[in-house]
C-alpha cells in the first residue's frame, strides 16, 4: 500500500541509544505501520531546530535541551523517553581515587561547554560540604574522555552506556558518580523522542503510528540485545562493533527499567528538573511541563 514518508533526525552519530529505531526499520515495524522512515544524521546544531521548524517531523533530543527550548517558545514536544533514567555522570579513572564530590577539591574538571555543568558541580560539592572554589574547570571542546584524562584533566561528564563501556573494554576502570544518585531531581530523561506541535495537531495518527512502531523496535532491542546490536552494526557498517555489542548488552535493560511500559514519562521528572534549574537561576521562565511532553501516543502496553 501507500506509505507515508517520514524522517527522523538523530542527536549524535548513530549509537546504542538509537538501536530501537534501527530495529524497527530492520524488522519492518515501520513498514507495517504504513511509514517509510528515513534516519537522518544531525548537524552541529542538533535536532531541535530542525524538528521545530517542521523540516523533519521527528527527532532525538534530551529533556535538558527541550526544557531550554520550550522556555524559548520553540514548539517541540517530547513523545517518549528512550531511557528511563539518566545514565550520565561524572567519571574519573579509578587510579585517581575520586569517589565523592568531596574528592573534587583541588581537581580539574574537563567540561564540554554546557551552560549548566558548572552549576551541577557546584550544587554537588556544596551539598557534600566541599569547597567549590577549589575546583578548576576547563572546557575541553572536542576532546573525548580518554584523551582529556591523559593531560591535566581529572574527571569528565560521560554517558556510561557509551564511554563507560568503552573504558571497560579498554580495561581502564573508572569511578562513576551518576547524577541520579546524587540528586533525584537530576534524573531527567535523556535521550527522548521528539516531534513538533504542528504534527501533534495535524497528524496525530502518523505520530501515533510512529511511536508505536518505535516502541516495538525498542521492545525488540530489550528482548534481543545481541541481535539488536547486529542490526545496528549492519545498518551502520563503519561503527565500532565491539563497543556496540558491549554497550547494547548494558543498555537493553535500561530502556524500560522500572517503568510500566517503554517510553513512559512522568510529570514529576519534568517538574523536578525545571525546578532544580529555577532554584539555580538557570531557567529564565517557568516551564509548562504539560506542554513539554505527552504520553498520549504511547501504545497501551
Amino acid at each position: 500500500g501507500k506509505s507515508d514518508k517520514v524522517k527522523i533526525v538523530l542527536d549524535w552519530t548513530p549509537n546504542t541509544n538509537h538501536t530501537g529505531l534501527y530495529a524497527a526499520l530492520d524488522q519492518g515495524y515501520y513498514k507495517d505501520a504504513g511509514l517509510d522512515v528515513e534516519i537522518i544524521q544531525p548537524n552541529e546544531s542538533g535536532a531541535d531546530t530542525m524538528v521545530a521548524s517542521g523540516k523533519v517531523p521527528f527527532g532525538i533530543s534530551g529533556q535538558d535541551g527541550l526544557t531550554q527550548a520550550r522556555t524559548q517558545n520553540v514548539p517541540v514536544v517530547s513523545i517518549a523517553a528512550i531511557i528511563q533514567h539518566n545514565t550520565s555522570g561524572f567519571a574519573a579513572p579509578a587510579s585517581k581515587n575520586i569517589k565523592t564530590p568531596k574528592d573534587y577539591e583541588g581537581k580539574t574538571y574537563g567540561g564540554f561547554g554546557s551552560p549548566f555543568e558548572n552549576s551541577v558541580l557546584q550544587a554537588m560539592m556544596e551539598d557534600a560540604k566541599a569547597d567549590y572554589s577549589k575546583l578548576k574547570s576547563v572546557s575541553v571542546g572536542d576532546a573525548d574522555y580518554f584523551t582529556a584524562i591523559k593531560k591535566d584533566i581529572d574527571f569528565e561528564w560521560i554517558f556510561y552506556a557509551w564511554t563507560g563501556i568503552e573504558a571497560e573494554l579498554r580495561k581502564e576502570p573508572l569511578d562513576m558518580l551518576y547524577l541520579k544518585d546524587f540528586n533525584e531531581k537530576l534524573d531527567y530523561y535523556t535521550p527522548v523522542l521528539i516531534t513538533n506541535e504542528t504534527m501533534i495537531k495535524d497528524n496525530p495518527d502518523t505520530v501515533k503510528a510512529f511511536v508505536a512502531a518505535t516502541a516495538k523496535g525498542y521492545k525488540y532491542a530489550i528482548d534481543h540485545p545481541a541481535e539488536a546490536a547486529e542490526i545496528l552494526i549492519k545498518a551502520v557498517p563503519d561503527i565500532n562493533k565491539d563497543l556496540v555489542r558491549a554497550s547494547q548488552k548494558w543498555l537493553s535493560p535500561q530502556y524500560q527499567a522500572d517503568a510500566p511500559r517503554w517510553g513512559e514519562q512522568k510529570k514529576t521528572v519534568w517538574d523536578n528538573y525545571a525546578n532544580w534549574l529555577t532554584e539555580h537561576k538557570l531557567l529564565e521562565k517557568p516551564l509548562d511541563s504539560d506542554k513539554a511532553f505527552t504520553n498520549q501516543f504511547l501504545p497501551e502496553s
Binding site: K7, W12, T13, N15, Q41, K55, D238, I239, N240, L243
Partner: protein
C-alpha cells in the same frame, strides 16, 4: 624524459613527507604513545587497507562533492571579481558582503541552510562554494588592479572596449594572482567539503571521521585525515601543474646562481 622530469619535481616533497612519517613512527614507538591518543603511521595504514572498501566509498563521495563545489566556487569567484571590478561602485559597496560570507559561523548557518535548501546536495555545495570563491575573488580583484599602466593606456588609446581590455589585458595580467587565489582555495576546498558533510550526511570522509571519532577509533580518524590531506595535496598540485602549463611566457628563472 617527461617522467624523469616529473620524478625530479616530485621527489623532494615525497622525501619530506616520508621523513615526517618515519619520525612520527619512531616517536610513537619510543615514547610508547597509546594507539587511541596518537596512532602510528603503520597502524593507520594497516587499518586503512583493512577497511579499504568502506573508506573508498566515502572518499569517492567526498571527491564528487569537492569537485562540484570547487568548480562552482571558481565560477562564482571569477564572476564576482569580474562584476566588482567592471561595474563602477560595486566594489566599494559589496566588498563587505564578501567578507561577511566568510564569517558567518557554520554552527549558525547550517540550520538555516537546511531549513531553506533541505537535506540534499544543494546546501553542501553552497557551503563549499562559499569557502572556495572568496580567495579567488580577492586575489583576482587585486590582480586586476595591478595591470601595467603603459599597456592599459595603450589599449585605451587604440579604442579597446571595457570588455576587450578585460579579456585581452587584465585577465592574462591577473593570471598569476588568479592561480595564487586558486591554490589557496584548492587547499580549502576539501576542508569545505568536510564542513559541508556535517550538514546531515550519511556518506563522505567527513561523516566517516565523525563517526569513528564518536566510536573512539583514533586510527580510523587518522585514516580520514590521511585521505583529506592526500586529496587536498592532489588538488593543490593539479593547480600548480595547470599553472605551469597556462603561464608559459614567464621568463623568470627560479634558479639562483
Amino acid at each position: 624524459m617527461i617522467s624523469s622530469k616529473w620524478f625530479k619535481a616530485a621527489w623532494p616533497p615525497i622525501m619530506v613527507v616520508f621523513l615526517l612519517l618515519v619520525v612520527w613512527q619512531l616517536a610513537v614507538v619510543i615514547f610508547n604513545i597509546e594507539l587511541w591518543i596518537l596512532p602510528d603511521p603503520i597502524s593507520i595504514i594497516q587499518e586503512g587497507i583493512h577497511n579499504f572498501r568502506s573508506l573508498w566509498m566515502h572518499t569517492v563521495a567526498t571527491i564528487k562533492l569537492t569537485l562540484i563545489g570547487f568548480a562552482i566556487g571558481i565560477v562564482i569567484g571569477v564572476g564576482v571579481a569580474w562584476l566588482l571590478h567592471l561595474i563602477p561602485g560595486f566594489k566599494k559597496g559589496f566588498y563587505p558582503i564578501l567578507v561577511l560570507t566568510q564569517n558567518i559561523p557554520m554552527i549558525a548557518l547550517a540550520p538555516l541552510l537546511m531549513i531553506w535548501f533541505g537535506f540534499g546536495v544543494l546546501p553542501k555545495i553552497i557551503v563549499i562554494s562559499i569557502v572556495v570563491f572568496f580567495p579567488i575573488a580577492v586575489a583576482l580583484m587585486d590582480g586586476f588592479l595591478q595591470t601595467d599602466q603603459v599597456m592599459l593606456n595603450y589599449m585605451k588609446m587604440i579604442g579597446a572596449t571595457r570588455l576587450q581590455i578585460f579579456r585581452k589585458l587584465e585577465l592574462p595580467h591577473a593570471l598569476p594572482s588568479f592561480f595564487s587565489g586558486l591554490k589557496i582555495s584548492a587547499t580549502y576546498a576539501v576542508s569545505g567539503a568536510m564542513i559541508s558533510e556535517w550538514l546531515s550526511s550519511d556518506k563522505g570522509i567527513g561523516y566517516y571521521m565523525k563517526q569513528q571519532k564518536a566510536g573512539f577509533k583514533t586510527d580510523r580518524v587518522f585514516d580520514s585525515i590521511f585521505i583529506i590531506v592526500l586529496l587536498s595535496i592532489i588538488l593543490f598540485y593539479s593547480i600548480v601543474i595547470l599553472e605551469s602549463i597556462v603561464i608559459r611566457w614567464k621568463s623568470r628563472s627560479h634558479k639562483w646562481n
